[in-house]
């Protein structure tokens, strides 16, 4: 076997290892739950492999459904949507800020259950897409540029992954990010994006040389 093909074969493996080193959350997860850790590890590896080989798309979807189920299980939905006494107090106080002629509007904007639900969903969405949630708490800051490059690559590809990523964001928007292990549903995609980012950067450097 020539040295060149050996490098070609081990290249994805090395990159995969780098991605995991750049991801302190994975190490933390190992100490918390070995099962979720193994599932996550396997799923991320499968996703990267599937992306490169353009295979196993159906398996990816099945695993995504499984992971979504665990994400649901890790969150207490009632906790996400119930208002705390302080929040209820603030809603009532704010409702009374409106002039009498706008009292009804005040109720709609501050107190009506559907509006409160909307505010909660809005908060969940922005928690999910907030880079500050992931950096530096879950991911190493070094991986940030690779993540951004990888996300661009991911969204340029016409593949299932970007839709799965969007569905993951949607699910986290509905159930929130404060589950037992954090927003782990999204992490395989971040892992894939970082992998693609590192790969693009390495290839760019090799081509330049």
């Amino acid at each position: 076997m020539s040295g060149k093909s050996e490098v070609k074969r081990t290249f994805p493996l090395v990159l995969f290892a780098i991605v995991f080193v750049l991801n302190p959350w994975v190490i933390k997860l190992l100490s918390q739950d070995v099962f979720i850790f193994t599932l996550f590890l396997f799923y991320t590896a499968l996703m990267i492999l599937s992306f490169i080989k353009k295979k196993f798309t159906k398996v990816i979807i099945v695993f995504w459904v499984l992971l979504s189920f665990f994400q649901f299980e890790s969150v207490k939905i009632s906790k996400v949507y119930n208002s705390t006494p302080a929040e209820i107090d603030l809603q009532t106080t704010r409702m009374n800020y409106y002039e009498p002629k706008f009292a009804r509007l005040g109720y709609y904007l501050e107190k009506q259950p559907i509006t409160i639900l909307f505010y909660k969903i809005e908060q969940n969405f922005f928690d999910t897409v907030d880079l500050n949630l992931y950096f530096p708490n879950y991911l190493n800051l070094i991986s940030l540029p690779f993540l951004l490059i990888g996300l661009c690559n991911l969204f340029q590809s016409k593949k299932t992954y970007k839709y799965l990523l969007l569905f993951s964001i949607l699910i986290l928007t509905l159930i929130g990010v404060n589950g037992k292990f954090g927003p782990f549903l999204i992490f395989p995609f971040l892992g894939l994006a970082i992998y693609l980012g590192v790969e693009t950067a390495v290839k760019k450097i090799w081509t330049t040389k």
Partner: protein
């Protein structure tokens, strides 16, 4: 789009935005912030005496609240007082006009950039720029940031024009120079932006045929910068620079700051600025729905990086955040204001994408989003903000000044432990004669005006002292002690034999300042 339709639409946007910027301008924000008051009082002082509050004749940099601020806004305010009068609206009106001018130049700038595929996108983006919470907030405050923002944007517009027609370099550098005389941020941003622009567009800028105009622009800039050159070697000129390098973990701070400024959560949901004065409850600097066109716009920005005007936009996007990122550990949305221009254009790229891909659906969505945005703005800025941020905006000092004016024969001790800069609010609201105040200022601040001295912590003018209460000595003097309910509790009032004279309440009727008459004979006798 026909020229006439275009003009009609832009004028319509201006009228609409003008109504938002001017509605209840005197009472929202409720109160008068110290930064507004210090500009206003120094402008009044310049107008009346030709000197600032410290007695310095026509300063290049004004010593305001312990820092040094470029003076263009103060001089403009002095002119505005002459024309309109000495009132809160006068100073805020300057920002409202600046914001309206910025809307015009925003439209001209994006039209010149020609990066949107649909003509409608230019008008839609301008409309949402004009009614964005960030611009609305800045259009309604009475200090220098909005004017500086507008001057910088005009300079950027002319610089873009200059890439094709080099005579515009002269106009560009005139406006850039004026911006450096208006606010700190622009003093750092202008050289940063120009240097990066020169590096990236060197082949276009350094053409032989441009040399004549570049030379003229250089000479004009040099002439305009003469006042700055006269103070270049003083600590006052470099006063905020130390912030750029303070702290140990510089790289990590820069990355964290950049992430924070670019975070969707900060820009579109909840602003992480710790200064209550800078934030609006329930809304961030842009509307929540804009996060989607922003992300799409960013993607387009990166994918079209080879186009010249996209490069120009990206350069603006990156550099406009540099002064804010480098200037401290916490987010200051005020220092990030220049970012509003590229941010909105990137959001416009996203809007344009949807307008092109889904013309009918996106038009209908945008028609629905306009009233929704206005509703969110009404709720947050016109209902919640005046009440929930009134203390941050120093509500109630006008009433305190009214009381002092009516009872001018008494001595006053106003506590400043929770608001160390509140003396300027009293000077402003009392319309205290500047020529008298100049005589009462600590002489050490007059001798070396441009030397960065530590800010004062106690003030005395007329029969008013502003400092922290000394519970050992103050109750033994014949005076009225003024403080908030936390500074002077009921227990303390009882213990020190204080007699309540007046109470100033906030918008919800909660006491915010209480005045107590001392009882030296009773108190000091009991101590003995």
């Amino acid at each position: 789009m026909k020229k006439l339709t275009e003009i009609f639409l832009v004028v319509g946007i201006l009228v609409f935005a003008g109504l938002i910027y001017l509605y209840k301008l005197d009472v929202i924000p409720s109160g008068f912030y110290v930064d507004e008051a210090v500009v206003a009082y120094n402008a009044y002082s310049i107008l009346e005496t030709g000197k600032d509050a410290f007695g310095q004749q026509y300063p290049v940099l004004f010593r305001l609240l312990g820092s040094y601020t470029p003076g263009l806004f103060v001089y403009t305010s002095a002119l505005a007082i002459k024309l309109i009068g000495y009132q809160i609206t006068t100073f805020r009106l300057l920002s409202a006009i600046s914001a309206l001018v910025s809307v015009v130049f925003f439209y001209l700038f994006i039209k010149k950039l020609k990066i949107y595929s649909s003509e409608r996108s230019y008008v839609i983006t301008t409309l949402f720029y004009a009614i964005s919470p960030w611009l609305t907030f800045n259009a309604r405050l009475g200090y220098e940031v909005t004017l500086a923002f507008t001057l910088f944007n005009i300079g950027v517009y002319f610089l873009l024009l200059a890439l094709d027609k080099p005579k515009n370099y002269i106009y560009s550098f005139v406006f850039f120079s004026l911006a450096t005389y208006t606010a700190h941020t622009q003093r750092f941003l202008v050289p940063i932006f120009c240097i990066f622009c020169l590096i990236i567009f060197r082949k276009i800028i350094l053409k032989k045929s441009n040399f004549k105009y570049l030379f003229l622009a250089g000479v004009t800039t040099l002439l305009l910068q003469i006042p700055h050159l006269t103070v270049l070697n003083t600590p006052a000129f470099w006063v905020k620079n130390q912030r750029l390098i303070e702290g140990g973990r510089i790289i990590q701070n820069i990355i964290n700051q950049t992430l924070s400024y670019l975070s969707n959560k900060n820009l579109f949901y909840e602003l992480g600025d710790i200064d209550a004065q800078h934030t609006i409850p329930g809304i961030s600097v842009m509307y929540n729905w804009m996060t989607l066109p922003f992300m799409v716009g960013l993607f387009i920005l990166v994918s079209r990086i080879k186009e010249r005007n996209i490069k120009f936009l990206l350069l603006l996007f990156v550099t406009s955040l540099i002064p804010a990122v480098l200037s401290g550990e916490f987010i200051s949305i005020q220092r990030a204001l220049p970012f509003l221009l590229p941010l909105m254009i990137v959001i416009g790229l996203g809007i344009d994408y949807f307008v092109k891909k889904l013309p009918v659906l996106s038009t209908m969505t945008l028609i629905l989003l306009l009233p929704l945005s206005l509703l969110l703005l009404y709720r947050s800025y016109f209902v919640l903000f005046p009440i929930e941020r009134s203390s941050g905006w120093n509500f109630g000092y006008d009433k305190l000044a009214d009381y002092i004016r009516v009872n001018a024969d008494k001595n006053y001790m106003v506590d400043n432990s929770r608001n160390p800069r509140n003396y300027i609010l009293l000077l402003y609201h009392l319309k205290y004669p500047p020529e008298i105040y100049q005589g009462e200022v600590d002489p050490k601040y007059k001798t070396d005006y441009y030397h960065s001295l530590p800010p004062e912590n106690s003030y005395k003018f007329s029969k008013i002292e502003v400092r922290e209460i000394s519970w050992e000595t103050d109750p033994c003097k014949e005076q009225i002690i003024v403080g908030d309910p936390l500074t002077i509790s009921d227990g303390q009032a009882k213990e020190h034999k204080l007699e309540k004279q007046f109470e100033i309440k906030d918008i919800l009727g909660k006491p915010i300042y209480i005045g107590f008459k001392t009882n030296p004979q009773l108190k000091c006798k009991s101590v003995e």
